[in-house]
Subunit: 107 residues, 2 copies
Amino acid sequence: MTEDSIIYIGSKPVMTYVMAVLTAFNQKGADGVVLKARGQAISTAVDVAEVCRNRFISGLSKPEIEIGTEELEGQDGGKRNVSTIAISMRKEEGEAKKPAKKKKDEE
Amino acid sequence: MTEDSIIYIGSKPVMTYVMAVLTAFNQKGADGVVLKARGQAISTAVDVAEVCRNRFISGLSKPEIEIGTEELEGQDGGKRNVSTIAISMRKEEGEAKKPAKKKKDEE
């Protein structure tokens, strides 16, 4: 079993991260991908997970989601709290065990 | 057991919704509160859940989180998809069974 890929979500367009998830599953052969985001990017992370599940990747199980808080140092040296999210997407059992398709030119 | 209160998160300040959660738990005696949000308000919903759990309400169990997609009609009549989140916060077993404190003037 391979390690889960971690993808950090920032302020780029949603489809940029969707492509990263597809790459992790298809080319790197990951069984799971974890999307991590904080602050305003949390909404983007949820968008990425939903677009992947509804439009691009079949056989994903229901995502497991955890939220938390991190302490950041502000520009004035003060501390401020920022919320975080981690969305864990996994291939369902049946799917994960299938061997990855080989490209024809690799055979 | 009372029904879970549902609180819809929009664009107001985080503390507005924190107050609503406190009211639901303390005055209405709810065992659980569900925060619902969509689009950019998803980040605010996570903030509300974290502020409640870390600063105001002890004895909350780990929140259960579900994400989804809704289809909205845009201003030009076209359809667009928007992500949604539902964060379910519950009092832990021990806490939930304690009778609510009565105010003195109600006795």
